[in-house]
Amino acid sequence: MFRVIPVFSQDPEKGYGYSEETKPMLNTSHGFVPWGDSHHPDISQTEGTVDGRWVFINENNTPRIARISLKTFETEEIIEIPNSAGNHSSSFVTENSEYVVAGTRFSVPFPQRDMPIADMKGNFSGALSFLKIDPEHGHMNIEFQIKMPGFSYDLSHPGRGKSHGWFFFSTYNTEEANTLMEVNASQNDKDFIAAINWKKIEEYVKNGGGKMVPAKYAHNTWDDDTHTATSVMKKEVLVVEPKDVPGAIYFLPTAKSPHGCDVDPTGEYIIGNGKLAAAMTVHSFTKMLKAIEDKAFDGDAYGIPIIKFDAVNYGTLNQPGLGPLHTEFDTRGNGYTTFFISSEVVKWNIKDLKVIDRHPVYYSVGHLMIPGGNSRTPDDKYMVAMNKITKDRYLPTGPEVCQSAQLFDISGEKMELLLDFPTIGEPHYAAGISADVIKKNNPTKIYKLVDNKHPYGVKSEAETRVVRKGKEVHIYMSMIRSHFSPDNIEGVKVGDKVFFHVTNLEQDYDVPHGISMIGANTSELLIMPGRTTTFTWEPKEVGVWPFYCTDFCSALHQEMQGYVRVSPKGSNLPISFTLDGDIPGEEEE
């Protein structure tokens, strides 16, 4: 593991979600939420190939989509999705990064209202949100939300190549059950894949279609110049009713509660992984267009035409294994499907609908990943299987054991297991890309001090100082191997709120410093070269209290420390601050 990037959860190692600068990233319409449940990272694309600019990732519990920069490997933006719950069929990107989508797994009243749960059927909706991506900066904006029937929208994938302009969502609970769902949502032999012509809806919206409705959702953005996040509460969202855009949305009947909804690299085959069926449903995009033209429909659901199964179905892969969940592809016409119940990955030919190879995994595999899997050009040498259960695979560590993923070589006819590796988890899904692409984009090594626009930043030790503003004490502090400036501070009083604004003056690769203060009710900070970060401390007792560097920075790391003197509430001791006996900057001529 090279790096853990905090996105939706606080990370005390890096101070993410603890520092004053990053706290706004975790703001939502429900207030500050310290954690998230991420599922599906997806890398931005240009012309159907992963380009390594950004990673998008969803949060299921408090519906949100985040964007991570692959230059800094930091979260740059988080947008909340209103009218949604269980943001699961997310965050997949179209082939030119036009949109990243977010779909609702738990249908809810739309807009929310006080009503009996038992009246769910026909009264709940599932929002499918299309977030436009700014091609320059990657900023996201909810362009429109489609107010779909109250099914569960489980997973999705964009069309590509010939099917570019369409998006496909798998559904379950077309029964619209609201209780004992494991039984009641598993009654229909077929549920649907929803096929959405987003280009058509985009045009409808461009021509003034849709309705702005009140909503409340947070949009949090990170400014790399000030190293500070801002949270803005948005007040409305554009909603599109399917009935208003005829010819844009269809349902494709698909074997029982399909989970993964995967599109092959050519864009022709749409695969429903029939979780509760012993079959894989393969739909044909060409047949779908023909069926639409011929109006080969089998009634409708809430006004949305249901295409006749035979009119859209390319074929069925029968009995390939038990519990198919997800399929990814190579460039040679094969699909690789995970089977949760029979704990295996099965390689099969899509055209022939024939199984080529199967390999056990340990155990109960969920997603699998081939780099560039959601693109026209998978990099098909390797495949990673991500398992949900490990049991006896590794050493016993009490009731909770490690998580596991497995690396396969898929360049040959047979899949070859190369490596089992324990990991933290669960390793739900992954996005892969050749390291060369990331390296070519020149990941950031340091932040230049001259570009630091943090309002409390300093450019040199001479600028470090301590300023009292009523009960607030602002420390403009610097750090460089291997000392803080100032490192002796007096005049702080019990009841003050002390802000440590700390700038790392280093301009060398891989020389972060950390800082922590005894008694501060927050995490440490880990500050990269050229950056300024802030934590607060409210001293409760008089005394002389030390702070120190928390990241092993140099041979003199242990000596990188300082003291703050805290006097009683009514003390008259003025603020003073020194480094080696002098006020910083004054000893220099």
Partner: protein
């Protein structure tokens, strides 16, 4: 124009390369610096080989009490003037002087060059030996004397965990070639006179 005069005019002009290219480079290699730290010495300034190298050399050296590499030194004012003067003098000699003057210019330039090198050596010596008495880490030689950290004048040398390299850069080659041309001009000029 005579061959010797041409050589004598072009030779000193090549010295102007010193205003474009660095004269010398000192590079410090260590395992934890996969991209080594380097400083390019021009006739009028110290420059980073990679951005922030000098800052990082200073940070590294402060542990053993070495002074910061100064922003500028008096030589950076003198060197450019001396070079310009020598170029003008050389070109004037090229046009109007005889071959004996050519040698005179070469000898003068050589003396100045050696003086420059000696001056640089003195600075390096001071830089490597004039250490802060409060240095964080103090090292002694096997004989008990205080260890110095002077980089080599020319060549490579191990200093604690670093290997220091000190080699000429393009500016120095321009100067060397230019000076050699004036030296050759002397012999060519001498031959031309004899032929007459």
């Amino acid at each position: 124009m005579k061959k010797s005069k041409l050589l004598m005019i072009i030779g000193p002009l090549l010295l102007l390369g010193l205003f474009i290219f660095p004269l010398w480079n000192i590079t410090l290699e260590a395992p934890q610096y996969p991209i080594p730290l380097g400083m390019d010495i021009h006739i009028n300034k110290f420059a980073d080989t990679h951005e922030f190298d000098i800052k990082n050399i200073n940070l590294m050296n402060h542990y053993v009490g070495m002074k910061y590499i100064p922003e500028t030194i008096p030589e950076f004012k003198i060197f450019p003037i001396a070079i310009i003067a020598m170029v003008v003098l050389g070109v004037v000699i090229g046009f109007f002087g005889n071959y004996k003057w050519f040698l005179g210019w070469f000898v003068l330039m050589s003396v100045l060059g050696i003086a420059g090198m000696y001056d640089f050596y003195l600075w390096e010596y001071d830089y490597g030996h004039n250490l802060d008495p409060n240095a964080i880490m103090k090292f002694t030689n096997p004989d008990g004397s205080i260890m110095g950290f002077q980089p080599p004048l020319f060549g490579s040398k191990d200093i604690l965990n670093f290997t220091a390299h000190s080699y000429p850069l393009a500016g120095a080659y321009f100067m060397f070639v230019g000076m050699m041309m004036t030296f050759i001009a002397f012999f060519v000029g001498k031959k031309e006179v004899k032929k007459k």
